[in-house]
Symmetry: C5
C-alpha cells in the first residue's frame, strides 16, 4: 500500500511510485505512435489510411466507461472487503487477549492463555503465507512447539490447523473445569470469527472476477483505443496523439488498476499491507501478555507498506 | 470457473476458453454480414436501403449501456453472493469440526461426533446435487447408513433432511446428558448457519432476475444492433462492419455474460466450482477427524474448476 | 414469478407472457402514431408542425436514463430484499422444526412441538393474506383451534397474533420446566427472526418509493417521448417511428417494470411467488413432524408461479 | 408519506399533492422567462444577447446527471435506512411484548411487564418528539408516573432516559430473583436493539450529506440551467423554453426531492410517517397487554400519512 | 461538520464557509486565464495557438464524470461508515450504562460500575486523539488513576489499553463472584463492540482509497481541464471562459470534496464532529451515573461542529 500525503499540483505529474503509469507505458506509447502515423498518412497520403467519422466513438467510449466503472467498482469492493476482514481479525485477536484475562490466574489457565495467544500470533503470520505466495514461512513457526510443527507442516490448510489447535486448548480447559460452558462458548465464538476471516480471505484470493468479464473488457478497451486514431485523425490533426494518448492513459490505467485491486493480497504496490497488519497483531497480543519490550509498529519504507 | 493467469497483450486476443465469444459468434456474424450488405447497397443502389442519421443512436446506445450495466451488476451480485454463501458453509463446517472437539472422548460422544461430521460431508455433496442438475448423486450416499438412506431418498428436500438428522444426533446428546444446554445451543446454532446457506442457495437457484427485465434488455439490445448499420452506413462506409461488429460484440457479450452469472450453480464455464468446494469441505472434515491419508485438494483441469 | 428457460433468438421476439409489452402497448402506439403524423406533416406541410434540433434530446435522454436506472435499481433491491426475507422465513421455520426435536418426547413437550409447528404453518399462510390482498383466507385457519380463531379474527395484526400464541406455548413450556431458560431463549430467538421477517415485509408493502420521485420520472419520461418525434422528424424522416418507438418501448417498459418490482407482494406476473413459498414451508414442516403423505411441491402453471 | 394508487396517464399530469412541482415552480418560471427573452432577443436583435454553441452543454449536463444521480441515491438510502430502523423498532417492541409473556404471572412480574410495555409505548412517542421538531410532547408523558416525569423532563436525551428506566425494571427483576440471568440477558438485548435504533435515527437526523457536496451540486445545477437558453436559442428557436423548462423541471425537481429525502424525519410530504408508526407500536403493545378496546390503525388523511 | 439550514437561492451563491470554492480557487483561476488567453490568441493570431475539435471532449468528459462519480461514492461511503461507527460507539456506551445498572448495589460492584463508565468516557476521548492528530490529549487522562496513566502513556494502542483495563475490571468482578458468567459474557460482548468500532476507525484512518486510483483521476481531471479551452475556443469564443470555468469548478470541486470525505477524522470543515460526539458520550454516561450537573450538549460555532 502506498502511504503518502497528497502531493501538490506540480509534483502530482511527476510521481512514478504508486502510479500505474509505468505498467501501461508500452501500450500508451503504441497508441501515441499509431496516432502520429495515422495523422501523418492522412496528411500526406489521404488514400493510404482509412478514416472513420468520430461520432460512433462517443457511443462506444461512453458504454465502455460505464462497464469499466462497474468492473472497477467490483474490484475496489473486493479490496475494501479484504481490508475489512483483516480489520475484523485485528479486533478479534484483541478480543481474545481481553477475554482470556479471566484465565490469568496461576496454574493451567495461565499457561493455556499464553498458548492461545501465541497460536493467535502464529495464525496471523500463517494467514499471510496462505494468501501471499512468497510470504516469510519462518514467522508462524516461531510460535509453535515441536509437536505442533509436524501437524502444521502436513496440514492441507495451515491456518485452520492452528484454529483447531486453539479449539483443542479450549476443549481441555472445559474438560478440566477451568472454564464454564458459557465461557467456553464465548471463546469458541471468538475462534469462529477468526475462522470466518480465513474463509473470506480464501474466497477473495481464489475467486477472481469472472474471467469472461475481464477478457471482454480488456479486448474492447484495446480495440477501442486502436481504432480511435482513425476516427479523430481528420478532425484533430496533430492534436490526435495528445487526445488519444490521454484517453488511452485513462482507460488502460483504470483497467490496470482494476487488475491490481482484484488481488488485494498480491505483491503489487497497491496491495494491502497484510504483513504489517500481522506484525501489528503480534505487538497487540504481546502487550496483552504483559510484555514490555515491544517492537515498534511497522513503518512504510519509501512510502510503501506491505 | 476459469482459473488462469492474466494473459499477455497478444495472447489476450486469441483465448477462446472462458471467453464468451463462441456463444455470441452467430449473432455477431449476422450483424457483420448485415452491415456489409447495407454498406454495399447504399454504395451501389442508394435508394434500395434506408439510412438514418446516426445521432439518435448515441442516445439509445448510452441508455442501453446504463441499463445493461445495472443488470450485469445485479447478476454479478448474485454470483458473488452465492460464492459468499459457499464460503460461509466452508467455515461453518470447519467450526463444526472444531466445536465438536469437546465431544472427542470415549464412548457415545465420539461416535456422535463422527456421525455429525460425516453427515456434514454428505450435506456438502447433497447440496451440489440439489443445486446443479446432473451432479454426482452417489457422493452424498457414501456417508449415510442404510436407515438414513431411505429417508434421504424420499425427502422433499435432501439437504434439509440431513440437517434434521444432525439435529436428531444433537437432541440425543442432550437427552443423554453428554452436552449441556449451552453446548447444545452452540452446536444447534452451527446447524442453523448451514440451514441459512441452504436457503440462500435455493433462493439464488430458483429466483432469476425478473423475466420481464431480461426480456426487455435482450430485445432492445438486438433491435439496437440490427438498426445500427442503417444509421452509420453513410458515415463510416466500409468501416461500418468493424464498428458495428465491435459494438455488437460488447453488447451481446455483456448480455450473455449476465446470463451466465445469473445462474452461479449452472454448468457453464463461468459458474462457481461448487463440486470442488464440496470436495474441499470433505477434506477439511476428514482432517478434523484425524484422518491422515487425505485426498489432494481439487485442481483445475484445462484451466477450469467446476 | 415467470419460470421459464431462456428462449432462443427468434422466439425472443414473440413472447408475450411475462413481457411488459402488453401493458405499455397503448402508450407506445400513441408515440408511433404521433411520430408518423409529425413526419407526414413535416414532409407535406413543413410549416404546420414545429421541429426542433435533436441535439438537446441526447442530453435529456441520457439524464433520464441515469435517473430511471437508479429508480429501477431501487425497485429491484426492494424486490430482491423481499425474496431474501421469505428465504429467511423458510430456513427459520426449518430451524424451528429441527430445534424442537429435543421436545419430541412423550407427554406435554410433543404436543407443544406439534402446536408450535402448526402455528408456524399458519403463520406462513397468514403472512400471505397480510401482504397480498385477495389471498386465500381459509388456509391459515385450518391450523388453528376454535379458541385461537376468535383472537386471530379480531387481531389488528394476525401474523403477530400467531407469534404471540407461539410465545405463549414457549412460556408454558418454561413454566412447566420442560425447557431450560437457555432452550427457551434459543426458541424465542427463532420466533424473533420470524417477527423480523414480518416487519420487513410490512415495511416493503407499506412504504413505496417516494411518490414525488415516481411522479417526476413518469412525467419526464412521457414528456420526453412526446417531444422526441419533433426533434428527429427532419433527420430520420420515415425512420422516425421506428426509432422513437424503440426509445418509447425501452423507457416506458423500464418504467412499468419498476412499478411491478416496487410491489413484490402484488399479483402481477413478476411478483414473488409467496403462496408457493408458504406451501413449501408447510411441506417442510409436515416432513419435520414425520408425516409421510406429503403434497408435492408447488409447480408453475403456464410458466407462472404465484 | 404520500399513500395513493398509481394514477392513470392523464391524471398523472394534474397531480399537485406530493409532487415537487409547487416548490420548484418559481425557479422553473424564471428559466422559462429567461429562455423566452433570450430567444426574442436573438431573433430581433442578434447582437444584443450572447449565444454559445450547445455542444459543451451535453458534456456538462451528463456530468451533472451522474453527480445528481449519486446524491439522490445517497439521500434515498438515508430515507430507506431510516424506515428500516423504524421497522426494526416495531418488531423489537413486539418481541418485547412476546418475550415478557413469561412474566405474565401474579405479583411483581406482571406489574413489571406492564411497566416495561408502557415505557416502550412512551419510547416510541418520545422518539418522534426527539426527531421531529413540533411533535406532540404530551403523548409520551401519558405513560409515565410522576416520579418518572421529573427525570424525563430534565434528561439530556429523553428516549435514552426511558431505556434506562426499563433497564432499571430489569435489574430489579433480576435482583428479586424473578428472572434468571439468561432471561435478563435476553430482555436486555431487546433494549439494546431499541438503543441501536435510537442512535441510528439520531445519526440520520444530525448528520446531513456533507454541506460542500450539496452546495456544489446546487450551484452547478443552477448555473447550468441559467446558461442553457444561451446555448440552445439559435438552434431550437421558440422550442427553447419547452426544452429548457423540461430540463430545469427535471434537474431542480430531483435536487429538491433529494433535499426532502435527506431529512426523513422532517415534516414535508415525502417524510416518513413516524407518528403513525409510533401509534401502531402503541396498538401492538396494547394488544399484547390483552387490551381489547384498541384504537384503529392510523389512516392517511388526504393521501398523506405523517 | 457544517451545520446550517439550507440557504435560499440568492444566498446560495455567496456562501464561502463550508464551500470548497476557496480551496480550488487557484486552479479555477488558472483555467479562466488560460481560456481567455487561448480565445484572444485564436481571435487575433489564429495560427499561434492550436485548436482542436471539441467532439472528443464530450467522450472524455463523460468518462471522467463516471469515474469521478465512482470515486466520490467510495469516499462518501467511507465518511458515512465512519459516522455509523461512532453512532454504534454512542449506543454501545449507553448500553454499558444501562447494563451495569445491575451492579448498582453497595460495595465493590458499584465501585466497579463507576470505574467501567469512567474508563468508557476516557475511551471516547482517547479515540479522538488516536484518530485526529492534534486532539486534546488531556481529556482522556482526567478519568484515569495514576497507576492506569503509566500504562496508558506507554501503550502502543491507547484505546485498546483502556478496553483491556475494562476487561480487567470485568474479570475481577467474575472472579469475586459479583457477576455470573452469563452477565460477564454480556458485558464482555459490549466491550467487544467498542473494540470493533476502534478497529473500523483505524481501518478508515490508515487505509486511504488506493493511491494509484486517486493519482490517475487527479491527473486526468487536470489534463482534461487544461485541454478544454483549446477544444472550445473556436466554437464558444468569449463564452469559453464561462463554460470551462464552470466545468473546472465542478470537476475540481468534486475531486477536492472527495479528498475531504476520504479522511472523515481530519480537521477540515467537512470532517466528522468526533470531538462533539465524544463529549456527548461523556454527558450520556455522566447522566447514567446519576450526576445531575451536566454540561450542555456541544453546539456548533460559526456553523461548524468538530
Amino acid at each position: 500500500m502506498i502511504v503518502r500525503d497528497r502531493p501538490g499540483l506540480l509534483r502530482l505529474f511527476f510521481i512514478l511510485r504508486g502510479s500505474i503509469v509505468l505498467r501501461i507505458l508500452p501500450q500508451v506509447l503504441v497508441i501515441l505512435v499509431l496516432s502520429a502515423g495515422v495523422v501523418w498518412l492522412r496528411t500526406t497520403h489521404p488514400g493510404w489510411a482509412p478514416a472513420f467519422n468520430g461520432a460512433p466513438f462517443a457511443l462506444l467510449g461512453i458504454a465502455l466507461s460505464v462497464f469499466l466503472g462497474f468492473r472497477n467498482n467490483a474490484c475496489y469492493d473486493r479490496w475494501w472487503e479484504a481490508r475489512k476482514d483483516w480489520g475484523q481479525l485485528l479486533y478479534t485477536v484483541r478480543d481474545l487477549g481481553r477475554q482470556t484475562l479471566m484465565l490469568d490466574r496461576d496454574g493451567e489457565p495461565r499457561a493455556a492463555r499464553r498458548q492461545l495467544l501465541r497460536l493467535a500470533m502464529a495464525f496471523g503470520h500463517a494467514l499471510v503465507c496462505h494468501l501471499r505466495p512468497g510470504g516469510d514461512a519462518t514467522k508462524p513457526r516461531r510460535f509453535l512447539s515441536a509437536g505442533q510443527l509436524a501437524g502444521f507442516e502436513s496440514s492441507r490448510n495451515r491456518p485452520d490447523f492452528l484454529l483447531r489447535q486453539m479449539g483443542q486448548v479450549l476443549a481441555e480447559l472445559l474438560a478440566g473445569g477451568h472454564v464454564s460452558d458459557i465461557q467456553y462458548t464465548m471463546l469458541e465464538g471468538t475462534l469462529g470469527r477468526m475462522s470466518a476471516v480465513l474463509a473470506a480471505c480464501e474466497r477473495i484470493r481464489n475467486t477472481p472476477v469472472p474471467f469472461g468479464y475481464t477478457l471482454l473488457l480488456h479486448r474492447t478497451a484495446y480495440l477501442f483505443c486502436f481504432l480511435l486514431p482513425f476516427g479523430f485523425a481528420d478532425v484533430l490533426h496533430w492534436g490526435t496523439p495528445f487526445i488519444t494518448g490521454l484517453v488511452a492513459y485513462t482507460f488502460f490505467g483504470l483497467d490496470a488498476l482494476g487488475d491490481e485491486l482484484e488481488e488485494p493480497f498480491g505483491t503489487r504496490l497497491n496491495a494491502l499491507p497484510i504483513e504489517a497488519l500481522a506484525d501489528t497483531m503480534e505487538i497487540n497480543l504481546r502487550e496483552a501478555l504483559g510484555e514490555t519490550e515491544l517492537p515498534s509498529l511497522p513503518q512504510p519504507k519509501g512510502h510503501v507498506l506491505m
